[in-house]
């Protein structure tokens, strides 16, 4: 098979699996668990194999990037064009590899984990859709295609947070995450729109010259800064950074494997990927660079502070993830690209294992405790004890309040918006009478 056919297969397999399974579902066909399990395991084994073959062939032929055009001129109005192109290069390949491997691992885990659960089918349906969306994000050759994958990842994430739909809490928290995503996606849309408007292009090809890494930025001026800032905020939304840093713990309502693949492994790193991709654009603007570093470092500082006081396994992991993501953002801001990729891959692997093992925390802790002879070095005496007592308590208070993020959002953003919406309700006609 040609390389481009292989690359298309990579995206097409999870996508067509999703379509096939949802058709079956709509037709009322009950696929047995065992069949679903074989299908999933087989599909991911195949995808992993395909990824390795692609990597091998690219390495053999010395190709550093491959573009595959599915439809270049299928849509054209005046100077607006949305070419459907995929790109696999030295940035996307490792991330794609990690995605198919981890999705496969989580899929195998879930076959056992969700056995007999009424949502078994739904879970796998969403898992395949997620893989499709994530691969689209990582292999997009333009902001437009990326946006498509971005939204798919977002909606599957929300649907899996609300997986236990018969209880109110998961649904409420899913809605909250959904709203956060929407606000962040608004920045994404604006970025795409402005790129088209000002630069007549949103494809990597048009925005940058040359191959990653070391590609050259084509966009300049204030307009480029505005686009870059928009995309930084969009990336922050997906990676739970900066102004969108409060949603990650809420996402822990879903089943453990979905927490692992979304919030430990792939979905949260999509923001970092976007920044890596538009790195020359970022660095063309001091404001955008400064913003990324600022967002990354402040989120990391808050994340590590909050993490220190989290008394439950999953929230603790959520804030630990957020901390490292902040560092990844800062690394990208500093221009340490290779390090950032290593960090993304390493972090995804560590967190997936930790999320999957989260229910073992009791068992592991007791074992280590016993092996250490019944005495573990007390933690929390590192930096904390250097501070005056009162400062310690203030810091603890901030951490316990999770940086007051939710309180601020509830009181100063949601409440005014709701009040305003109520006010607008005055103008609505009610009960047929004006």
């Amino acid at each position: 098979m040609s390389l481009s056919a292989l690359i298309l297969t990579l995206v097409a397999v999870p996508g067509s699996l999703f379509i096939l399974l949802s058709l079956l579902w709509l037709l009322g066909v009950k696929l047995p668990e065992r069949a679903m399990s074989r299908l999933t395991k087989g599909a991911y084994a195949f995808l992993t194999l395909v990824t390795f073959v692609i990597a091998w062939r690219m390495w053999q032929s010395g190709q550093h990037s491959i573009r595959i055009s599915i439809g270049d001129h299928w849509f054209k109005v005046a100077h607006y064009e949305f070419p459907l192109t995929l790109l696999l290069d030295r940035l996307s390949l490792p991330i794609v590899g990690i995605t198919v491997i981890l999705a496969g691992i989580v899929g195998s885990f879930s076959v056992r984990y969700l056995h007999r659960d009424p949502g078994f089918f739904r879970f796998f349906l969403l898992l395949h859709l997620f893989t499709f969306g994530a691969l689209l994000v990582f292999m997009a050759d333009s902001l437009d295609v990326l946006l498509g994958g971005w939204e798919i990842v977002g909606i599957t994430s929300v649907l899996l947070i609300g997986f236990f739909q018969y209880r109110p809490d998961p649904v409420k928290n899913a809605l909250r995450v959904f709203a956060t995503y929407r606000v962040a996606d608004l920045f994404m849309l604006m970025g795409v729109f402005l790129a088209h408007h000002w630069f007549k292009t949103a494809s990597w090809n048009g925005m940058f010259n040359g191959e990653w890494p070391g590609h050259i930025n084509n966009l300049n001026g204030t307009a480029a800064t505005v686009v870059a800032v928009m995309l930084v905020f969009a990336a922050s939304g997906k990676s739970s950074q900066g102004p969108f840093c409060g949603w990650l713990p809420r996402a822990m309502e879903g089943p453990t494997p979905s927490s692992a693949i979304f919030y430990g492994a792939i979905s949260v790193h999509a923001g970092a990927y976007l920044l890596l991709r538009i790195e020359p654009l970022l660095h063309s603007s001091a404001i955008a660079t400064g913003l990324v570093i600022f967002i990354g470092l402040t989120t990391a500082a808050l994340g590590t502070l909050v993490h220190r006081t989290c008394a439950d396994a999953k929230t603790s992991l959520a804030y630990a993830s957020q901390t490292q993501l902040g560092l990844i953002f800062a690394e990208i801001g500093m221009g340490w690209t290779t390090l950032a990729i290593l960090h993304v891959v390493g972090h995804a692997l560590v967190r997936t294992l930790q999320f999957l093992r989260a229910p073992s925390m009791l068992h592991d802790y007791h074992r280590v405790h016993a092996a250490a002879g019944g005495h573990l070095e007390p933690t929390g005496e590192h930096y904390e004890s250097l501070l005056p007592k009162q400062t310690q308590i203030v810091l603890y208070r901030i951490a316990l309040g999770r940086g007051f993020y939710d309180a601020v959002v509830d009181r100063f953003i949601i409440a005014p918006v709701v009040a305003f919406a109520r006010f607008l309700g005055v103008f609505e006609f009610r009960g047929g009478k004006p």
């Binding site: 809490d169 089943p255 390493g346 989260a358 802790y365 573990l376 603890y396």
Partner: protein, 991 residues
């Protein structure tokens, strides 16, 4: 209402100024409050606390009656009361019982028998009795009536065009000339509109505010409460433990929360001021609560109801605080000083602040009314319409009914409401279970014994009474008919505080009600102490690496190193653990055995005298000779093992190891306090092998032959491994005997694993026993496995008697088997000891499974999938929910909710005299939390206890006793519950 000397009248209180929240004039110092109010409050809180779940930190899971607070009431009343208080289900749903009836699990005769035991009355003289009405409502069952869709049913479905198809012939004849429409109209004409119930008084502000403003206050105050309590009781998950913990929850919170910079969630801004004022006045928890009760205008007479309602709104956390308050040693690592009063004070402070914010004051909530549930006018008509069809009351008859008759009819109909029908169906459901067990048992006893007994058995094996051991006991006897098995409570009479060489501290290995007085320690044998030192230093090094990587992967700077630089190393354990769990586990074991040396050890259990009493713990080191004798006798005596023991006697404790399972401990040995019972078995065997002990036993009439050797061991019920201890000490002469036993045990555990695997849908049916073993071993090591084993699920019977009563019977791992030899116990002493231990333990297990099954969300902890380990003390759903107590769905999903049926091999008089001498057992039995039957040791006839001293002989023989040549032949290919069968390897004769 009790009168209290108040500084101000209550009336004056009701219009209390709204400015300040928690200040009252008389609470400057704690002592200013009259002490009898404090006393009353404490008393009320103690009482209210009974309604909280009695589950401690989840690392040690003890099964107990979920409704322990209601145990002083009869079961049937208690489940209804509890359902009302906790908003839970008392029984399975009516549909579930009707489905069971449809598949023959409930027979018509069961329903008839159930109704026969209830009072009868005439409803319509000559036409309808209560019994007839109820029977018709249960067989074929009422049509599900739902107020919303009745009019749809009338217009769109066949309600008005045809009578129900299921009605019986008599009813059909009576309705012959009638039409459904006429009947519906007659019903509609007769039914008087129900008067709406009066609006209820709200019990707590939340109900009032919800009704009046549509705001759920629990959603406002629970998140901060959960976060604070979680941080306070945390045992080591948080990197930075809560500061000021030593000052208690209330004071720590008051000092931490009101910081100048802090931004509070919506509606809780007043909390800072409230906390500051409390702190300024140095109020203790009781003063805060008393003040709050006054501010909320809750009268002392309502305190109890109010406090119960506030506490059961967040039962998991409140219950945990209570458990840790009562017994701080339950905390696995950090002992924190918990107090339910402080938790309550915190809760009420938050409640008042939120209430003040929403309603503007703190007392008007009392005047709000909770609207009564909406009554649909069509529902009573539809019910009557349905009942009239079922009982064959035609429209003419209905119209002609005199007023008194109609009132009686509708009252009876109302009395046999859904809850009552479920109660009746449940009793019928249990009756069938009772007959499925007792009839085959009596048929089996009526048969001649299978084989004449040999002079001496090849070996004897003592297991725990646990119903999970039933299959391995049966398999062992199938494999080697010259082995006989026995059942004794799995701590084998040894209540000990035990620490192995790898344990940091001693733990109690005995039933929870017992506090061990003796310490037993494992230590390396003299010439192996250097190996142990090496082992421990390696383990310490391993622990510091593990600890380091755990902590560092989460923090900022070290986290950077461990994720960016070392992160990819996680790939190997991740991939292998998920894709090849068993191979990975074996690899780890291999590495362990290569690098971690294992010293030979022995138990330190012999007492040097009173001097060895530990000053701090008050534990005696080991046992004196007489104490050893007593402990060995307490197991061998009741089991009837008085003489002629086999050359090898194996004693097996049990426990369960599984990965990624916060409920792991729930699978361990209940008799060892939710821990693993290997050391008890090892200790028992070591004691029984001592010549002085045998000497002492002889004085008690237990004569152990000199050539008998006891071997202790441990059976893991999850991966079905069996380890035997101290094999080096086995005399040379017994090696071949031991080898034979070992071989039989290995065959038996494989068979037993295979039998277990039949229950798992994920296991493919396969007749090869080795596949079963592999399947269960893999299950134990699988990271994503929420059901490593089914635990006590399906338990339903406890049989107390000689093995002859049950040997060769297939009980499908559903029967606790307790060895008790009635003829050797003329004074019932052994019976009292046995029942005193097994009724509370087995009863508790059975009831916990019952309640977690009938209402898995209300009494159990729901599905495991979203569980989140918190504070190392429990699990909650999501990131801030209540602690979930009880059993998860995955542990109970195949359970049959029946109260456990005890079948005791003795006479009714003897068993009652023993039970009635013990108040706890009397409560269990007379309030019908358990069921009881006896099987006569002489003539084998069975009597069933019906309460209040009434016995009833078993009659009828509708349940067969199938015969199969082996267990595997009987269960092969089946996944459902199987009836009792006889396993007879001899060529099947015509039965």
């Amino acid at each position: 209402m009790t009168e209290y000397p108040l500084s101000r009248g209550w009336q004056g209180r009701l219009n209390w100024p709204l400015l300040v929240i928690i200040v009252t004039s008389h609470s400057e110092t704690p002592s200013a409050i009259p002490s009898d109010r404090r006393e009353h409050l404490r008393h009320v809180l103690d009482h209210a606390a009974h309604y909280l779940p009695a589950q401690g930190p989840i690392g040690v899971f003890i099964h107990h009656n979920t409704l322990h607070a209601f145990q002083h009431d009869p079961f049937e009343k208690a489940v209804l009361d509890a359902a009302q208080l906790f908003k839970t289900e008392p029984y399975m749903s009516e549909e579930a019982y009707q489905k069971d009836r449809a598949r023959g699990r409930i027979l018509d005769q069961d329903i008839d028998d159930t109704l026969r035991r209830e009072d009868d009355a005439e409803i319509l003289p000559g036409k309808l009795t209560r019994r007839q009405l109820r029977r018709a409502l249960l067989i074929p069952g009422v049509r599900r009536v739902n107020g919303i869709n009745i009019s749809w049913q009338l217009e769109e479905s066949d309600w008005l065009t045809a009578f129900r198809k299921e009605i019986d012939a008599t009813a059909a004849r009576a309705l012959a000339g009638d039409t459904p429409r006429a009947l519906w109209e007659a019903c509609a004409a007769r039914v008087r509109p129900e008067t709406a119930a009066a609006a209820a008084k709200p019990i707590r502000p939340r109900d009032a505010v919800l009704a009046e403003h549509g705001i759920d206050m629990d959603l406002i105050i629970h998140p901060p409460l959960i976060r604070l309590t979680g941080a306070f009781v945390d045992q080591g998950i948080a990197y930075w433990p809560m500061p000021l913990r030593e000052e208690g929850l209330l004071r720590a919170t008051r000092k931490i929360m009101p910081q100048p910079l802090a931004i509070f969630p919506a509606r809780l801004s007043g909390v800072a001021a409230a906390f500051r004022q409390q702190e300024a006045k140095n109020m203790d928890a009781e003063s805060v609560v008393l003040d709050a009760l006054e501010i909320l205008a809750v009268f002392p007479g309502d305190w109890e109801e109010y406090l119960i309602a506030e506490l059961v709104a967040l039962p998991g956390w409140a219950g945990l605080v209570r458990q840790l308050e009562v017994d701080p040693t339950l905390a696995p690592h950090d002992r924190v000083r918990c107090s339910l009063m402080e938790f309550l004070a915190l809760r009420l402070t938050y409640t008042i602040v939120a209430l003040q914010d929403i309603t503007g004051d703190t007392t008007t909530w009392r005047s709000f009314c909770v609207p009564p549930p909406h009554i649909d006018p069509l529902t009573p008509i539809a019910r009557l319409f349905d009942a009239a069809q079922l009982t064959g009351i035609s429209s003419d008859v209905l119209k002609a009914l005199p007023e008194a008759g109609f009132t009686r009819l509708s009252d009876e109909l109302h009395a046999c409401n859904e809850l009552e029908r479920r109660r009746l169906l449940h009793i019928a459901y249990e009756r069938r279970h009772e007959r499925q067990i007792l009839i085959p048992l009596s048929k089996f006893r009526a048969m001649p014994p299978q084989e004449p007994k040999n002079d001496r058995l090849a070996a004897q094996a003592i297991f725990c009474i646990d119903e999970r051991e039933e299959s391995i006991r049966r398999a062992l006897e199938e494999v080697d008919p010259a082995i006989e098995t026995y059942g004794a409570a799995g701590f084998f009479g040894c209540a000990i505080d035990y620490a192995g060489i790898d344990d940091a501290h001693g733990v109690s290995l005995c039933p929870v009600v017992v506090k061990p007085a003796h310490a037993v320690r494992e230590q390396p044998v003299a010439d192996h102490s250097h190996i142990d030192e090496k082992r421990q230093s390696l383990r310490r090094a391993w622990a510091s690496v593990m600890r380091g990587s755990y902590v560092s992967s989460r923090s900022l700077v070290r986290g950077w190193v461990s994720t960016a630089c070392l992160g990819f190393l996680s790939l190997f354990p991740l991939v292998l653990r998920v894709l090849r769990p068993l191979e990975f586990a074996r690899l780890m074991e291999k590495l362990n055995s290569l690098f971690l040396p294992e010293p030979r050890t022995e138990l330190l259990f012999t007492q040097d005298g009173e001097a060895s009493k530990d000053a701090t713990t008050g534990l005696l080191a080991g046992f004196g000779t007489q104490e050893k004798v007593d402990r060995v006798a307490s197991v061998l005596g009741p089991a009837g093992l008085h003489k002629g023991h086999a050359r090898i006697v194996v004693v097996l404790g049990h426990g369960s190891t599984s990965l990624n399972n916060p409920h792991e401990s729930a699978h361990d040995c209940g008799a060892c306090g939710g821990r693993r019972g290997g050391p008890n078995a090892r200790l028992f065997a070591a004691m029984a092998n001592r010549p002085p002990v045998r000497e002492g036993l002889r004085a008690k009439g237990i004569i152990i032959p000199d050539d008998t050797w006891f071997v202790g061991g441990y059976h893991d019920t999850c991966n079905d491994n069996i380890d035997l201890y101290d094999l080096e000490a086995v005399p040379e002469t017994h090696r071949s005997d031991l080898a034979r036993v070992r071989q039989s045990l290995d065959k038996a555990r494989a068979l037993s694993a295979h039998e277990r695997a039949r229950r798992f849908e994920a296991a493919l049916p396969n007749r090869n026993a080795a596949t079963g073993l592999r399947h269960v071993q893999e299950r134990a090591e699988q990271l994503g496995e929420p059901r490593p084993e089914y635990g006590h699920c399906t338990n339903s019977v406890a049989i107390v008697g000689r093995r002859d009563t049950t040997r060769g019977l297939f009980f499908d791992r559903r029967a606790f088997l307790v060895s008790y030899d009635a003829p050797k116990d003329p004074e019932n002493k052994a019976l009292a000891a046995v029942l005193g231990a097994v009724i509370p333990v087995c009863g508790g297990i059975s009831l916990e499974y019952y309640f977690s099954f009938v209402d898995n969300e209300g009494y159990g902890c729901g599905t495991k999938l979203p569980h989140n380990v918190t504070g190392l003390v429990g699990v909650m759903n999501g990131f801030q929910g209540d602690l979930r107590t009880g059993l998860p769905l995955q542990m109970v999903e195949i359970h049959e909710p029946v109260r456990i049926l005890f079948v005791v091999e003795t006479t009714p008089q003897r068993v009652l005299s023993v039970i009635h001498a013990n108040p706890l057992l009397t409560e269990f039995l007379e309030n019908r939390w358990i069921r009881l039957a006896t099987i006569d040791p002489e003539d084998s006839h069975i009597e069933i206890y019906r309460g209040k001293g009434q016995w009833e002989p078993l009659s009828g023989d509708e349940e067969p006793l199938p015969v199969a040549s082996s267990s595997i032949a009987y269960y092969s290919g089946k996944i459902e519950h199987l009836p009792v069968a006889r396993i007879d390897p001899r060529p099947a004769k015509a039965a």
